[in-house]
């Protein structure tokens, strides 16, 4: 029988560093979309807290605990990243395994906000968009998810099929910011 070779979404494309900003792929393991049934939001939040240590996040928020990250992922949806979802969650929510559906990257560096300002129509400055804040928004022309994971670090998520476009768009923005840095310096 043929042995299939697993490839990550950004294989051969990353890592990449331009002008002090780095772009690296994250391979977080299992990704599950959790969509609470009507009226079961509170019970789901409790089950998630008990099983994974993170509650169902409010809109525009995410939470992380011991390898489990819960990212608000749209109306009535969160993305549970890391662990296999506990079976108790299925009582209160529809669970969809989307582990192979998304490309996750981490972008980090001194001028990361300047880079993302070229791509994302949301104000990501730390004064307004703090660690753990997240947005479903556009990254270039792609619908995606943007989460601040550190003082100068963000996680970006787009459809796996758009991984190469994501890397291209971010690289172009990184190069433009790096070039401005040279001119200003």
């Amino acid at each position: 029988m043929a042995e299939l070779i697993a490839k990550t979404p950004c294989e051969g494309l990353l890592p990449l560093t331009v002008g002090g900003v780095s772009l690296t792929e994250e391979n977080p393991g299992v990704m599950t979309v959790v969509a609470p049934f009507r009226g079961r939001e509170a019970a789901l939040a409790q089950a998630m807290r008990a099983a994974h240590g993170v509650a169902f996040p409010a809109p525009n928020r995410s939470a992380v605990r011991a390898g489990a990250r819960a990212i608000w992922f749209g109306r009535g949806q969160a993305l549970l990243v890391g662990p296999e979802p506990d079976p108790s969650l299925a009582e209160h929510a529809a669970l969809t395994d989307q582990s192979d559906a998304w490309a996750l990257v981490r972008i980090e560096g001194e001028r990361v906000e300047d880079v993302l300002a070229r791509l994302v129509p949301v104000d990501l400055r730390v004064r307004l968009f703090k660690r753990g804040h997240t947005a479903r928004t556009l990254i270039g022309h792609m619908a995606g998810s943007v989460t601040r994971v550190g003082p100068r670090a963000f996680q970006l998520i787009v459809f796996r099929s758009m991984a190469a476009t994501l890397v291209h768009e971010v690289r172009t923005a990184m190069e433009a910011i790096a070039a401005r840095g040279v001119l200003e310096g």
Binding site: P59, N60, G74, R75, Q77, P121, V122, A135, T137, L138
Partner: protein, 87 residues
């Protein structure tokens, strides 16, 4: 132009897909007759001024919204979830 999504907050117009006048919320009954259905499916006003429209937060949370907007000034007066909007 910025639209205040009730879920995401105020967002750039680029994140939204425009559907048109919010007539879809006012679907006639099955027995309403040909004239009512003709108006519902085909006939649209072309208002200059305040109007209610359906927008889809495609590049955001995925909610359908009813946005009240002035077609002349592009002023946005507000937005509500289509599922909770008055017809």
């Amino acid at each position: 132009m910025r639209i205040p999504c009730p879920i995401c907050g105020e967002r750039d117009r680029r994140e939204f897909y425009y559907k048109g006048a919010a007539v879809a919320l006012d679907r006639p009954g099955p027995d309403a007759g040909e004239a009512a259905w003709d108006a519902y499916v085909y006939l649209r006003e072309n208002p200059a001024g305040r109007t209610r429209e359906l927008w889809y937060h495609e590049g955001g949370c995925g909610a359908w919204l009813v946005v009240t907007r002035d077609t002349v000034s592009h002023e946005i007066f507000g937005a509500e979830l289509a599922g909770e909007a008055d017809v």
